[in-house]
């Protein structure tokens, strides 16, 4: 702590910070461009100039950049100083010389940091009367639009893209007034985080290309606090809609989870909500035809199909909310409720969950602070992208210690990078193929899943002699030693693993490493990726495994399938047989999946944008999402189930989400606390619900006058504390129910700083999610016993392992055009020693079915391993890993 003075006011400040950070945290309006709360200062834009005074007696002072001025004891600055103000206005005028002033046709208009800062500095009239510099724009792929003329050379884009996200195909080019930010030639941006450029760039150079296709101004959109449904990280998002069309997704700050950034799968996932392939009305099969029916009739048929309930089973879904899964479980009975995880997956998930009780599971904020990392058997970027971005920051921790030792504060980005260069810390990755994080790994280990498990066991044994030993090849011994040493000497060691390779021993090995560290008196973190939005929540329900139902041979009367395409969970032969065996198949889903196409009754289910519910992320954080679209013909699964239960005289009194959430909490102790994840629907601020619309929302009284000149009341929303209205207050809204950000003078996403307790700190009005597993069974858990002996590959056979693709493996984003345009075609990746030519068409056998694909040669893949993409649209689901043979065709 230090005492500082700003415009004569005395304040306590964090001495480890700079004066821009401090001033903004205290609520002063000081303009800036190049500084970013997650990336620190470089002093490039000169916009944050203030007057600094030596001491009390100094009246002259000198201009300094607040973002480069440490908040040391007795620092005195003035923001209001006349000369400082004039300087800042002059800087803006300079930045604006070549700016096209095309706000009316710019997608950034109305949420532009440059507009806000120009207004804040008071520069109002343009004096420059000459020709402006113009640039050629580039095609950068389906996500991001490029309009270079608007650039003010703040360098934020390249600092984020290269320095923070670690990708190298975007750069700054040329010099002085022709500096250019883009790629060296047109082409798709390679980073999985490119969409963040739209929020990082303070002007309209980089904007959301998908928003541009159905553009609506920020103030004209309706927003809701939501949670990304595209993987298990649980990033907080704010989708925006108008006229029933979701227009875009914005990052919603949660300091424990996603912070300022989300991945491109999450940001552009919304497109599927608008897809023409959504199911919008109930469908019933009559003979070979499917007929559209009314909602009431659908509920009636559903009730009849349930009959006495004796031979009914329900299949849940890791992509549906806790409430939806719980409602189905309540409808069919706990012993007839099956999870809906893929074959073999449930065992692994339950194993991970039980391990999580015995260790510390870090949040992403904590992951970023770790200084030594072992990723054991996981491709984090493609399974939990946002976590990979956090791990990139962990890789910088160890080198940063050198900067700290040289007394360079961490906010001084240029200074730190001068000390650290491109140095990376001890990050190690063990995976069969190259991963997108390899560039920040000190070393990688490639092997088959069983070898990776052995490798992990060996690391644990090298850390603590009590851990079960392992047989790892001699060539890996040195690396095992090095990793053990790095983890043991780190301040905050971390192990990351997951179920991707479907290998129990890998997960056990990850746990053993953490247990070994704890025995050595080190406290370590363990993070498991979770592939789907509610994998963790469904796992905690401890339902029966889907395989049991699929392979039971029992004649079920009715099978109710909740938001799940079984053809993605098991092989087609098994699912075909299962569906044929069932008397009736009822499918509740959002899109017409292969399973829905086979159903007798299909009920149209609300997407994340139309529904409310609770999801549990990889760290067991329960988070609530709320609808952004008003009620329509689609409704939440739990509401369909409640409707049918009510008709049958069951469940009693579930009228709103709060009732269901409370029932979950009451019935299943593991979920205790989830009601507190967000305020109930009865929550009011000064008698009003929280508005989903900014106060400048236009056309409210005009949009429906062709139907009636009387303005209809806003639609009712019994499930949330939010209203489809402009009436009310967002400023004091609880963090978990904050639909959008706006503060007077701060129209851009930077309004966030008015909602944080301090810069980079929690939002005012926390909490943001409730942790369900607190690692309270920590202590000295028993080590997992040794890994199975590695197997020898049979002649001309390959162990097929699943490889995930951020764009392509997720189910619902198959229907999102921008994302699906980047999905790969089916392939089998092997090394060149397998004797195939790159691009050669091949057939391979697995589970008795024959697949075709093309060969991809990836030389880093070990002998005897074939990598097969998982979850691509319209491809057969294989039971992996499996030994396959590959034949040229």
């Amino acid at each position: 702590m230090a005492t500082v003075y700003i415009d004569g006011n005395r304040h306590d400040a964090d001495a480890k910070q700079n004066m821009l950070h401090v001033s903004l945290s205290l609520g002063y309006d000081l303009p800036f461009f190049c500084w970013h709360p997650a990336m620190g200062s470089i002093g490039a834009c000169r916009q944050c100039a203030v007057k600094q005074f030596k001491d009390e007696k100094d009246t002259k002072g000198r201009l300094v950049m607040a973002c480069l001025t440490p908040a040391l004891e007795d620092t005195r600055i003035s923001i209001a100083d006349q000369e400082a103000q004039e300087f800042r206005a002059a800087i803006i005028e300079g930045l604006m010389l070549h700016h096209p002033h095309d706000c009316p046709v710019c997608d950034e208009g109305g949420e532009c940091h440059l507009q806000d800062m120009t207004y804040l500095t008071g520069h109002a009239y343009r004096r420059y009367r000459f020709q402006k510099r113009t640039y050629r724009n580039q095609f950068l792929g389906p996500f991001v639009n490029h309009e270079m003329n608007r650039c003010i050379q703040c360098y934020r884009c390249v600092r984020f893209y290269r320095g923070y996200a670690g990708e190298h195909d975007l750069n700054s080019f040329s010099i002085h007034h022709t500096v250019y930010f883009g790629r060296h030639e047109d082409g798709i941006l390679e980073s999985e985080f490119s969409g963040n450029l739209a929020e990082v760039c303070p002007t309209g150079v980089f904007t959301d290309r998908t928003l541009g296709q159905h553009y609506t101004r920020k103030w004209d959109q309706t927003y809701a606090p939501s949670i990304c449904h595209s993987c298990g990280v649980g990033c907080n998002i704010s989708p925006g809609q108008r006229d029933g069309i979701v227009r875009r997704i914005l990052n919603r700050y949660n300091h424990e989870v996603n912070g300022y950034f989300i991945c491109d799968r999450g940001r552009f996932s919304y497109e599927y909500v608008n897809s023409p392939e959504r199911i919008r009305a109930p469908l019933v099969r009559r003979g070979d035809e499917r007929e559209v029916i009314e909602k009431d009739e659908a509920v009636k048929i559903f009730a009849e199909m349930l009959g006495s309930g004796e031979d009914v089973i329900g299949i849940g879904s890791p992509r549906a909310s806790l409430e939806a899964n719980f409602a189905l479980r309540a409808l069919v009975g706990a012993d007839r409720f099956f999870s809906g995880f893929s074959t073999g997956e449930q065992r692994l998930i339950e194993l991970m969950l039980s391990i999580m009780q015995t260790v510390h599971v870090p949040s992403l904020r904590e992951v970023e602070a770790c200084d030594a990392v072992l990723i054991l058997g996981e491709d984090v970027t493609n399974v939990a992208a946002r976590m990979a971005l956090a791990l990139r920051q962990s890789a910088r921790r160890e080198p940063q210690k050198k900067a700290l030792a040289a007394r360079v504060p961490l906010w001084d980005d240029l200074g730190v990078r001068q000390v650290t260069g491109d140095a990376i810390g001890p990050v190690f990755i063990a995976f069969p193929c190259a991963t997108r994080l390899d560039d920040v790994a000190e070393a990688t280990y490639r092997g088959r899943p069983d070898q990776i498990a052995q490798f992990g066991y060996a690391v644990a044994a090298a850390i603590h002699s009590g851990a079960p030993p392992a047989n790892t090849d001699a060539s890996a011994q040195a690396l095992v030693k090095r990793i053990a040493e790095a983890l043991r000497t780190a301040e905050r060691p971390l192990v990351v693993s997951g179920a991707t390779l479907r290998n129990e021993a890998i997960i056990g090995a990850a746990a053993n490493i953490v247990y070994a560290l704890e025995r050595e008196g080190r406290s370590a973190g363990l993070a498991f990726t979770m592939p789907e939005a509610n994998t963790c929540g469904l796992g905690l329900m401890r339902a029966r495994a889907l395989e049991e139902a699929l392979e039971s041979r029992v004649q079920y009367g009715t099978v109710v399938i909740l938001e799940n395409d079984l053809y993605r969970r098991a092989t087609a032969a098994i699912v075909d047989e299962f569906l044929a065996r069932a008397g009736n198949v009822v499918v509740l889903d959002q899109v017409n999946t292969r399973t829905a196409a086979r159903a007798n009754l299909v009920l149209p289910v609300a997407s994340f944008a139309e529904s409310a519910g609770t999801l549990v992320n990889f760290e067991s954080r329960a988070q609530r999402f709320f609808p952004v679209l008003p009620p329509s013909d689609v409704q939440e699964s739990w509401r369909w189930i409640t409707d049918v239960a009510t008709r049958r005289g069951e469940f009693g009194s579930w009228n709103s989400l709060d009732d269901v959430t409370a029932a979950v909490e009451q019935e299943m102790p593991i979920f205790r606390g989830i009601t507190a994840a967000a305020p109930p629907s009865s929550y009011r601020i000064a008698g009003e619900k929280i508005p989903r619309q900014p106060h400048r929302y236009s056309g409210r009284t005009a949009t429906l006058v062709n139907i009636s000149i009387h303005e209809p009341p806003p639609p009712d929303d019994p499930d949330s504390p939010l209203a489809y209205s402009m009436e009310g207050y967002t400023y004091k809204a609880p963090a978990s129910a904050l639909p959008f950000l706006w503060a007077p003078g701060w129209n851009s996403a930077r309004a966030l700083l008015k909602f944080q307790e301090e810069i980079n700190g929690p939002l005012r009005g926390g909490p943001v999610g409730i942790r369900l597993i607190r690692g309270d069974r920590r202590g000295a858990p028993e080590f997992f016993s040794g890994a199975p002996e590695p197997v020898n590959a049979p002649e001309r056979r390959w162990l097929a392992v699943p490889i995930y693709h951020l764009f392509g493996s997720d189910e619902l984003t198959h229907w999102a055009p921008a994302i699906s345009s980047l999905a790969p075609q089916p392939y089998v990746a092997v090394n060149e020693r397998a004797g195939f030519r790159d691009g050669a068409p091949v057939a391979f056998q697995s589970d008795g079915a024959t697949q075709t694909a093309v060969i991809k040669i990836r030389s880093e893949i070990p002998d005897g391993v074939a990598a097969v993409p998982a979850g691509l649209r319209e491809t057969e689901t294989l039971r992996l890993p499996a030994w396959i043979s590959i034949e040229a065709i």
């Binding site: 190298h168 195909d169 750069n171 700054s172 080019f173 010099i175 060296h184 030639e185 260069g421 491109d422």
Partner: protein
């Protein structure tokens, strides 16, 4: 692919640097000496050898006047247009040169012999106006002496 000669020269430079990337300017100078200018392909070749993206290299290449990202003739005439030379007759010199060669600034003669480019102060202000042909600097250049200078470059 870098030629054996290019690689050999670059390897010598690499010994002076702790990180391969640090040698990128030298690498581009070497390759330019062999190929006259830096095509996209040249940048890809260098990038592969140094572990850098084309964008990394292009960011550096476009920063420096003397790294050419467009084809140039056998000889490059760089004429200083900074303030001292400008006072001392840069414009006249430039016009003479352009008339004599039949090209504008930034262009190459049709026989591929000369490319004419403007350049900033060459630090030769006391002998302004100044120009440079390839690596040779000439001071006190007058429209009359230009002919003689050009004649030295075939």
């Amino acid at each position: 692919m870098l030629s054996a000669e290019e690689k050999a020269e670059l390897d010598r430079e690499l010994q002076q640097y702790p990180a391969r990337q640090s040698a990128c300017i030298d690498a581009m100078k070497i390759v330019q000496r062999h190929r006259r200018w830096l095509s996209d392909e040249a940048l890809r070749d260098i990038g592969e050898y140094l572990g850098m993206s084309v964008a990394d290299l292009d960011g550096v290449a476009t920063f420096y006047n003397l790294l050419f990202r467009k084809p140039v003739g056998r000889h490059v005439v760089m004429i200083c247009d900074s303030v001292t030379c400008w006072i001392m007759g840069y414009e006249k010199l430039r016009d003479t040169l352009m008339n004599r060669l039949g090209v504008s600034l930034g262009e190459t003669t049709s026989d591929d012999r000369f490319t004419v480019l403007p350049i900033v102060c060459l630090g030769n202000c006391d002998k302004a106006p100044t120009l440079m042909v390839d690596r040779d600097t000439y001071g006190n250049v007058s429209p009359e002496t230009v002919e003689e200078i050009l004649a030295r470059y075939k």
